[in-house]
Symmetry: C2
Subunit: 358 residues, 2 copies
């Protein structure tokens, strides 16, 4: 493997000094880029795009050609595991992900097994291996998975949901059944992420998209406990370097201390959480990732720069411990020029915050 030329992102996650605040953006390979839409059209359906390593590699690299990003994230979907378990993932335009088979009973859960990583999910590892070759050490490559609770939401609901009636019905009425489901998912996520690390992923993101739909006590029992298992089960070293782990619970701003206590290296913040307050709460334990409101990218480039300045000032002095990102994925209809301004202003405006201590 080529030597890593830019390790700013990995260093910041390990709270080592950096010259500038590293930046990457959730969903940076995505629909707002015309070159992505071209590949997506060629692929036909979304799962073909995910499961064809050459295509997944190509769209992973696209944003790096336009922007001076400090990390890349492998193009894939959080629902690859339930698909590999045989649930039949497909995407309906305008409606998001759908499963052909849904999980509603103990019998459904009993049939689920940890998927064979190379046989059923080998396409993800292939995409990682190919991307690591093509990226040629420019920036690190992030691997990822959905959290067990988030996967369970889709598997029980059969797709997206506004109120989580079915999955919460199961959680409240048959908690032991829900725990059985979350257990097999946690085991699968551990194997999946370790396979990604073995294939070349240099950092790991755990996306807990629906953890914020829970009450605090249910979050602890049904989401956080399983993410804790995962953090403990990961091989956090590869190629002689630490593989840092970042946990992001959308809507979890009230539970930052609990997330930091899992032993992760980074905690993702959505934009509802004040980054100054978050740093006071957990900044001595973990690196903070975030947290600009993605809707700022609907405004003018100057306004984008102003907001970047405000997030950087919000984090404040100190030469590490912050990875700049949005507080959620980039929206599909923003102007790619605004993303350019975002990335460049993070680097340009963050330098003074790092100089004094370097």
């Amino acid at each position: 493997m080529s030597e890593l030329k830019n390790d700013r992102y990995l260093r910041a996650l390990l709270r080592q000094p950096v010259d500038k605040t590293p930046v990457w953006v959730m969903r940076q390979a995505g629909r707002y880029l015309p070159e992505y839409r071209e590949v997506r059209a060629k692929a036909g359906d979304f799962m073909t795009l995910c499961s064809t390593p050459e295509m997944a590699c190509e769209v992973t690299l696209q944003p790096l050609r336009r922007y001076d990003l400090d990390a890349s994230i492998i193009f894939s979907d959080i629902l690859t595991i339930p698909d590999a378990m045989g649930l039949g993932l497909h995407f309906v335009t305008g409606e998001g992900p759908k499963f052909e088979h849904v999980i509603r009973s103990s019998a459904d859960i009993a049939k689920l097994d940890v998927p064979d990583m190379e046989e059923n999910l080998g396409y993800v590892m292939d995409a990682i291996r190919l991307t690591r070759r093509e990226i040629d050490g420019k920036v690190p490559l992030i691997g990822f998975s959905g959290s067990p609770w988030t996967l369970a939401c889709y598997m029980v609901e059969g797709g997206s949901s506004k109120d989580f009636a079915k999955v919460k019905g199961m959680m409240f009425d048959a908690p032991e059944q829900m725990h059985a489901l979350l257990n097999v998912l946690a085991k699968s996520v551990i194997e999946y992420l370790n396979a990604q690390i073995a294939a070349g992923a240099q950092s790991i993101m755990l996306f807990d998209t629906w953890g914020g739909a829970l009450s605090q006590s249910n979050y602890q029992q049904f989401s956080l406990a399983y993410m804790q298992q995962i953090v403990e089960g990961l091989t956090r070293e590869n190629e002689g370097r630490t593989v840092p782990v970042t946990l992001f619970t959308k809507g979890g701003g009230q539970w930052l201390e609990m997330m930091a206590a899992t032993g992760v290296d980074g905690v993702g913040l959505d934009w509802a959480t004040d980054i100054t307050a978050a740093r006071q709460r957990i900044g001595d334990k973990v690196t903070l990732q975030g947290n600009m409101d993605p809707c700022v990218l609907y405004a003018s480039p100057d306004r984008v720069e102003q907001e970047v300045a405000s997030v950087l000032a919000g984090f404040g002095e100190g030469n590490t411990g912050h990875v700049f990102n949005l507080g959620h994925g980039i929206h599909p209809t923003v102007d790619p020029e605004n993303m350019l301004r975002l990335v460049d202003s993070v680097h340009c405006l963050s330098e003074p915050y790092h100089q004094s201590q370097n």
Copy 2:
């Protein structure tokens, strides 16, 4: 007016001793009740239901016939103000509210005026007057409004939105324009709520449905500041009694202290906020309303009762300062029997928490 026979809800909001924890439920008059669906079908469209005082009164009273609730809330919609401003509110099945005319420019905003309360919104006051007569002092009647920011979201987006692209674009790019819009809305809400109080509303709820979509600093500037104006502008006394005000920002659990500092009597909690922690944070200043996960009503009646017990225990000892509610509106597909168990268990299980001090 008949004398108020049950003032448990008003007393709890003013932190006076009560014998049992009062309970009401957001959207308690609604689609989960077959008798509501009957009236709704007769009305034809939703706005006819809202704007016909006899019908609005009838559906307001329906849940009181089934359940031993401690408060009623006038049946209406949060979007009556923009409709009265001439935006043409209508409801599309499965898509929610839509406006015929949307607000996108300074010129659009300059055309907006505070609506004439009796001419354009008299149907709400008529419904309140009629309901007060019909309810015959059984329980207090709550009046309500959407927050200025929440109304602005619908007026700029033209309906519901997933990402608030347009309203946030305006907020970020043309903040003075957004402030002009919020100003006329705040003035309108003050007049509207004072008219509701004059018509007989005995308590006020301010629903800040979309405040939680903002960052902390934008929440303070674009939502909270206008709610503060409203709290200060309300006539908080009528018929010789205090008219308590409750503020509910969905997703605002990180900002409870700021909400309490507006001078409201009650702060609504969604279910992501731990009620024990919330009481420690602001329980010496305001009454807490909430906060059971509405999805518990998809579970069995016994599980509902268990969760009621858990919320009551979470609030803890002390003979006042808690109004039991869900952390969000009741879902339209729950079993009405579960609502019965909810209301009865709140009364039954809360008695011991109040006895010691009475």
